[in-house]
């Protein structure tokens, strides 16, 4: 159905709320449905399983190399993540999130769990200043959801941006961020909470950041 956020727009140019969690443009909706590799994996399309590696191998490997304690650990994690993706492929709903964001979410969950089990052995470079992390990228370089998130991050005060980068990008625990920045733990948690709730609002409502 047409999204109630922007009532009265003509079919084909309006926004659609097929799922209560996400608002999508018509073009996004059609594009997601037509190109969803995970949906094809979920329906037993064998070719899509390899295509999934082709499309998301780089994304998952980059995430794993950043968040795992070693390259060997990253390799094990990547295999685990792809098997989880294939097994749970039918659960992917393009009305809720883009495929890349969904893949990223599954990969992050696995990597965070592995980090907890291994005692969160963060690479030394992660404890350096967060400015080492790249700036949030513009919409032209990323998908729609990432572009919206980037706009939210860019609007945050510098301290909040730094905390968010240490948490999301570097994979530090809240305690580790408090220790490395000197900020109280409560402040770290508040910064992360505000930023993520803002991103969630923007993603769900489909508005501009």
């Amino acid at each position: 159905m047409l999204c109630m956020c922007e009532p009265g727009e003509r079919m084909g140019v309006g926004r659609y709320h097929l799922h209560p969690r996400a608002c999508r443009t018509f073009t996004e909706l059609v594009g997601l449905v037509q190109t969803s590799v995970l949906q094809r994996v979920g329906t037993g399309d064998g070719a899509a399983v390899r295509e999934c590696i082709e499309r998301y191998g780089g994304l998952v490997w980059s995430l794993a190399r950043r968040m795992a304690a070693s390259d060997a650990d990253a390799e094990d994690a990547v295999q685990e993540i792809f098997i989880a993706l294939w097994k749970g492929a039918s659960r992917f709903d393009p009305a809720v999130a883009s495929e890349a964001t969904y893949v990223s979410m599954i990969a992050r969950r696995r990597l965070i769990d592995r980090a907890r089990v291994s005692g969160r052995k963060i690479k030394p470079e992660a404890l350096t200043d967060a400015s080492a992390a790249p700036a949030a990228r513009s919409g032209a370089e990323t998908g729609e959801e990432a572009a919206k998130a980037a706009r939210v991050v860019q609007e945050l005060p510098a301290e909040q941006q730094r905390v968010l980068r240490l948490s999301i990008y570097q994979g530090l625990s809240h305690d580790q961020i408090a220790q490395s920045t000197g900020l109280p733990l409560g402040t770290v948690k508040t910064h992360i909470r505000r930023a993520l709730l803002r991103v969630r609002d923007i993603l769900e409502k489909g508005g501009a950041a």
């Binding site: 390799e75 992050r108 949030a136 999301i168 993520l196 991103v199």
Partner: protein, 247 residues
């Protein structure tokens, strides 16, 4: 702090640094009280931020790609067939884009509800009929908690799937669950979690699917332990229940 605030605290913690088993149980219970809260909302927000901050993706090492492609081929051979036909027709029949986009989503949802799903017992029989499936009986184990448990395990390496069957497996209290560990050519140090499950009671036969958390290589044995509910990645293997070795 309200319960809803606590839910968001836990969702954000899960999305950024993970939860302990106790916190995961707390979150699960709280989410039942707050069905209006989307349990994946914070994970998706964190994933979107991650994508926004991450640089261009780096290519995978060739050796890893080769391993994944082998795993993909194994997976494809084990995937079910009939539904794939529906998937292909669905895409090919895309006509009037607006209507079809909605239709496709609806058909996907309806199909998942309407298509018959084999029970674990039926799926076990199907897997057992394959020539490359192995079967082993659970061996006796001196654990006073589970006297007299019997049954077997079937495993197919190519499809990375299998089933455990138990008779006489007692129900755990709510704080505990059974967990299957798979031991392959990498040995006990890299044992693989294969399932976390409960039993309806010693008087009933139970069939449990095996879903390894990573790709296995030449599985040699299976062991079931009693762990805290929700399972663990670091079992000390002290509370073993049964053991089976594939020949």
């Amino acid at each position: 702090m309200s319960n809803a605030d606590r839910v968001y605290d836990l969702l954000i913690q899960r999305a950024t640094e993970g939860l302990s088993a106790a916190e995961a149980r707390e979150l699960e219970a709280l989410l039942k009280e707050h069905p209006e809260i989307d349990p994946e909302s914070m994970d998706l927000a964190a994933a979107a931020v991650d994508q926004a901050l991450a640089g261009p993706a780096a290519p995978m090492p060739a050796s890893l790609r080769a391993k994944l492609e082998r795993a993909a081929d194994d997976w494809s051979r084990g995937a079910s067939g009939p539904v794939a036909v529906i998937g292909k027709r669905r895409v090919a029949a895309w006509g009037w884009l607006a209507a079809a986009a909605c239709l496709v989503l609806a058909v996907a949802g309806w199909w998942s509800k309407l298509s018959p799903v084999a029970s674990p017992a039926e799926a076990r029989q199907t897997l057992l009929a394959r020539a490359d499936t192995k079967k082993a009986d659970w061996g006796p184990w001196d654990n006073p908690m589970v006297p007299g448990v019997t049954g077997d395990v079937v495993w197919n390496e190519a499809t990375q799937s299998g089933y455990m069957r138990f008779k006489g497996l007692p129900t755990n209290d709510a704080s505990k669950a059974y967990q299957l560990w798979i031991v392959d050519e990498r040995g006990m140090d890299q044992r693989i979690s294969g399932a976390i499950f409960t039993s309806p009671g010693a008087g009933q036969e139970v069939v449990v699917p095996i879903t390894p958390q990573i790709h296995t290589r030449n599985v040699g044995a299976f062991a079931v332990t009693v762990e805290d509910a929700g399972g663990t990645w670091v079992s000390d293997m002290k509370r073993r229940v049964v053991f089976a070795a594939l020949k």
